[in-house]
Symmetry: C2
DNA sequence: GAAATAGTGTCTCTTAGACAATATGCG
DNA sequence: CGCATATTGTCTAAGAGACACTATTTC
């Protein structure tokens, strides 16, 4: 905090933006929501949704919620949204100094409400193609996306974030599929079932069951109130 | 990121600061480094060390390192420093809009090099007295400190951050004392010993031993290269 | 030897992981 | 019934937690 001995000197002011890393599991892949930039710099390139704070009075979290609605049509009340990290190297934006506060959002694979609003060409892209550089993104958004994926992978272990990837109500198979996709790792269906049903507050049974082509119908659940999972579900150790 | 359809409108600029939550274990307590504010607002009150970025060109991480040196005399090369979270509610600073990027630092209990520089009245305060409001701090620094403590407590579980609280070389007893103090929880010395010595890369034996009054001398260790601990040391479940 | 602290070993119980068996729908 | 998927159960091995014992120093 400001505690300079001399009060009399100019405090530099910089532009503050928010960026959103919106993740989902879709087509058996972890995917991220990208938009096509309409303006320079990086015009026409893919980038994270986001933007500058609207005024000097706008709260940062509120700006994230607003940009989410404006650029993707998504409603922050229906999804997981958390602040992730701030990126502030001086050269990260060619127009000048921009400090951006990044948020991680997790949504189920539902049709994007791109209909109205400012949503231009928002679409899903597998994170795989971003991480291996076969899809290039604007600014330093590549490393932001890498950070977001790391964060999501880690949080599946010790929080109930996995359920935020599932449209409610969901089956345990669907939840397991989220874990398998995000971690890129197969999990034993029976052990997974035992584990997640044993975590108090993770899942709330609706009493309903799926109706489907073949196979026994699965029980349907909603996300419970628990946010932390204790003990965690650990990934296999680094290979 | 900036992707407004209309390019022609004023981008609000705000002051950006960095704040430092420097933690140590001292006198059997988790303590935090606070300074006495020399200027208004909150003049004379305790606050986290920190300050505005020096210029439009200064990197955020660099600003944290600089403020750490200026306000506490500590050298970022000798300690653990990581970005924690950004605080940006509009009313958090009475002087106007200030967005502050907060860093968590962890240091061993060594004499503060307060001798030279800008270090004014930097001193250690038990976090307990801040968390229970018996010590009041400026701005929203109370909740920042609470977040920093949460972060540190959590990171002891699945990282080797604990060793950053110890002056090198250190004994396993000293490391255990860090865990016990930060978590506020007794740990079995024998199980702890077995656990931490079993984590590859956590501890590097120096071959030296302590010399002391009574009791068998303890082996001395340095911090190893490992930063993540797999599997983690879990705290007892919430009681 | 007594006191103090370090370090090793052992036992038990919980739980993760592998895998078999049963349940319940559909055609 | 046969197929497909869900769910429960069983076994084993690894690890956490409790606790006893041995080791090495100083006085």
């Amino acid at each position: 905090m400001p505690t300079k001995s001399k009060d009399s000197w100019k405090i530099p002011k910089v532009a503050v933006a928010v960026d959103l890393a919106v993740l989902t599991v879709r087509d058996d892949e972890l995917q991220i929501l990208l938009i096509e930039r309409a303006i320079s710099p990086f015009r026409g390139q893919l980038a994270l949704p986001g933007g500058f704070i609207a005024s000097e009075r706008e709260d940062i979290d509120a700006a994230a919620v607003r940009e989410l609605a404006e650029e993707t049509g998504l409603d922050a009340n229906t999804l997981h949204l958390e602040q992730m990290r701030t990126y502030g190297t001086p050269e990260r934006d060619p127009r000048g100094r921009v400090v951006t506060v990044c948020y991680l959002a997790v949504v189920p694979d539902l049709p994007l409400p791109t209909a109205g609003g400012d949503a231009r060409a928002a679409h899903w892209e597998p994170v795989r193609t971003v991480l291996d550089d076969s899809t290039s993104v604007a600014f330093d958004h590549g490393s932001i996306i890498a950070d977001a994926v790391d964060r999501a992978r880690g949080k599946l272990e010790y929080t109930t974030l996995g359920a935020a990837f599932c449209a409610s109500p969901f089956t345990i198979s669907e939840l397991r599929h989220v874990y398998e996709t995000v971690w890129g790792q197969r999990l034993d269906p029976r052990n997974f079932h035992r584990k997640v049903t044993g975590v108090e507050g993770f899942l709330v049974a609706t009493g309903e069951r799926t109706t489907r082509d073949g196979g026994r119908p699965a029980a349907l659940f909603r996300r419970g109130d628990a946010r932390l999972m204790h003990p965690p579900i650990l990934r296999a150790a680094k290979q």
